[in-house]
Amino acid sequence: MSDRDLHTEPHSFWTKYVWSQDHKVIAIQYSLTAIAIGLVALVLSNLMRLQLGFPGAFDFIDPGRYYQYVTMHGMIMVVYLLTALFLGGFGNYLIPLMVGARDMVFPFLNMLSYWMYLLAVLVLVASFFVPGGPTGAGWTLYPPQAILPGTPGTEWGIVLMLVSLVIFIVAATMGGLNYVTTVLQARTRGMTLLRMPLSVWGIFVASILALFAFPALFVSGVMMLCDKLLGTSFFMPAIVSMGQPLAHGGGSPVLFQHLFWFFGHPEVYIVALPAFGIISDLISTHARKNIFGYRMMVWAIVAIGGLSFVVWAHHMYVSGMNPYFGYFFATTTLIIAVPTAIKVYNWTLTLWRGDIHLRVPMLFAIGFISTFVIGGLTGLFLGNVSVDIPLSDTYFVVAHFHMVMGVSPILAIFGGLYHWYPKITGRLLDERLGKLHFWVTFLGTYAIYMPMHYLGFLGMPRRYYAYEGYEFIPASAQDLNAFITVAALVVGVTQLVFLFNLAWSVRHGRPAGANPWGATTLEWQTPHTPPRHGNWGATMPEVHRWAYDYSVPGAARDFIPQNVPQEAGAGGEGPVWGGQV
């Protein structure tokens, strides 16, 4: 059925670029919107660093504003940038092209998904302009403080935040149904599940996670809206505020934390799994070697996806939940390190004795392995209850989660953009600007987050507006904070180089041709670059081999595309098995 033309080719500007049902245009719409709102989050993070590095020097940053910056930065980065860019951006662009479909299975629903996402972003942005400003409850939005006076943005900000999240979840559901159904039901001839590139596997499993994890956030959002607007007490215990008992009583704040983290932990992998997949493809392509242990990589993705649903309460060791829970959740958390380590070993073994081309996408991929290993190892520290309790409210945790799910996925996104930009626009991004962008971003990352690990060990608490007058923090910590701020500003400004490159290369980049990297996967074998409506012209591609036939002995070139018949070269199904039925 995958050869069916799913919608008629549009001809007017509006149907082609605005109300478009083409997955490639929707992917670009998603990506540009996500990058735009991501820039807001970047500016907010630099504003936070200004206050921490040079306290009091910028007097418009008062404590309330500071907490609003923290909250909006976190929520935008996790949900509106990373989730949207990986699933809505990369997912939309890559899935149909990589599995050999003409489009997503439900193009109209796909279009709706983008417009709902845009609406969610606009509602979120609107909260900057309402009385009281956006919510400052922290990105986890823990009640009771999130909806009680004293926290910034309890008038309108929190309501708009929750409404925006609910809209986002509707958008993500419409998109996710499309991605999952397309992968399951609309592959081209010969494209078995175990011949799919790992990028598709990562995005596919992440979409399933999104469909099963976002409902918990949806429900907690609806319940908190009821608590805020209707005066119910789902999450509100009996509280005395300013000597007056509030009208609430009998609710369970820990219930919110359970619901939130039942979403929140799979969310980490919704962001990480597509990054894993993209990195696998980048490393294999630019090292001219088949990915090491392809099937193991697939099973690791599936196993991590499954395990991610039974580790959520490791975010709650200090919440006051039953201490015996900690035993269970620490165990499951440490088990998840096994498939994750398999992936890291396999990337390393893929690089080993490969024909490594240090082009910009490859630099970002190798940078990803480095930051991900650092962030993953500190995760093992924090997964243990007894280590987590003293560290949990310090900068050690800030450093950990920024390394593992902030910086690492961002590096994967950059790598992916440098890698697929030639297919999207037909031109290469500028190599020298790209290398400048990579080195400043990568080294800057370490300059920012390495000292934070140390500050955490010193006991510097996170979420504080200012650190003067605490005896347990040595005065020299302030120097380190100033250093981190300077590094963060440099990294922030360097992103302008990337944006310039992105815009400039559309017209002035070096023409790329159909397959500049010599890649095997289907998206590089399209008859046109960029691919036109329907992707494949008159004939659907037929897949004859797995996605990683690089440097096959005896083959004429060092890669054999997936749509080349088996007779035309050795290779074919990888080392073991390719699922021929």
């Binding site: 559901t173 592959r187 789902f234 009998g250 609710g251 369970s252």
Partner: protein, 232 residues
């Protein structure tokens, strides 16, 4: 743009584990069903997580609250002809909704037999039963509101009783209402013959079955709400 007309390779799958493995390792599609049906199944699993979270949240606050929980069979009793019948309205509502699942199944049967008129009539009957369910729920809501039950408190006990009641039955009622509109639009399309010519195997009457999946799901959810909210 149709190019290859080869039959779908796994249209006649083997049974049991062997069939499962064959399905998943085959090319083109993992399940021998239309796209819409696969998507509806996936959506319903996702929706299961929504209702699962709602019900888990309700059960947690019911345990957490310090006030006594009102007795559901007294709160939801009706006095008819001088006799107080516990849960009578809920029993009727449940009966109506389960019955509508029966008419839905008959409508699917008629659709595949291409009995358009009877299929549309049965779909309309299903929608009518669904609408009467929503109407009875509206009656129940107004009765409780008249007795002083509010989301933020009630005279019988724990405030979370009203909050959970309005939230869960409201969200389920919304699903039923959407379903009624969905079924009526499908009925109109069946009657207009929209599903006759197009499609591969026997028209596009699979769309009736897809609507049926949604409708049966909404019924099934009600059974859980009935058990966990009204009977507990």
């Amino acid at each position: 743009m149709v190019t290859t007309a080869a039959p779908v390779p796994n249209s006649a799958p083997a049974g049991g584990w062997r069939g499962l493995v064959a399905d998943w390792s085959g090319d083109r599609q993992a399940f021998a069903v239309p796209w819409g049906k696969a998507m509806m199944w996936i959506f319903l699993i996702s929706d299961t997580f929504v209702f699962g979270s709602f019900l888990t949240g309700y059960m947690t606050v019911r345990i957490a609250t310090t006030e006594p929980w009102p007795n559901a069979s007294e709160v939801f009793a009706l006095t008819i002809g001088g006799q107080t019948l516990p849960l009578i309205l809920i029993a009727i509502m449940t009966f109506v909704l389960i019955t509508s699942s029966g008419t839905m199944a008959m409508a699917v049967n008629c659709a595949y037999r291409r009995d358009r008129v009877r299929c549309a009539a049965l779909l309309a009957a299903t929608a009518l039963l669904g609408a009467s369910f929503v109407a009875m729920q509206a009656f129940e809501w107004s009765k409780l509101i008249a007795e002083g039950v509010r989301p933020w408190g009630n005279p019988m006990g724990a405030a979370q009783f009203g909050a959970s009641f309005f939230m869960i039955t409201g969200f389920h009622g919304l699903h039923v209402s959407v379903g009624v509109i969905y079924l009526l639009s499908i009925a109109a399309r069946v009657l207009a013959g929209c599903y006759e010519a197009r499609g591969e195997d026997g028209g596009k009457y699979g769309n009736v079955e897809i609507a049926g999946l949604y409708w049966h799901f909404v019924d099934l959810v009600w059974v859980f709400i009935f058990a966990l909210f009204y009977l507990w």
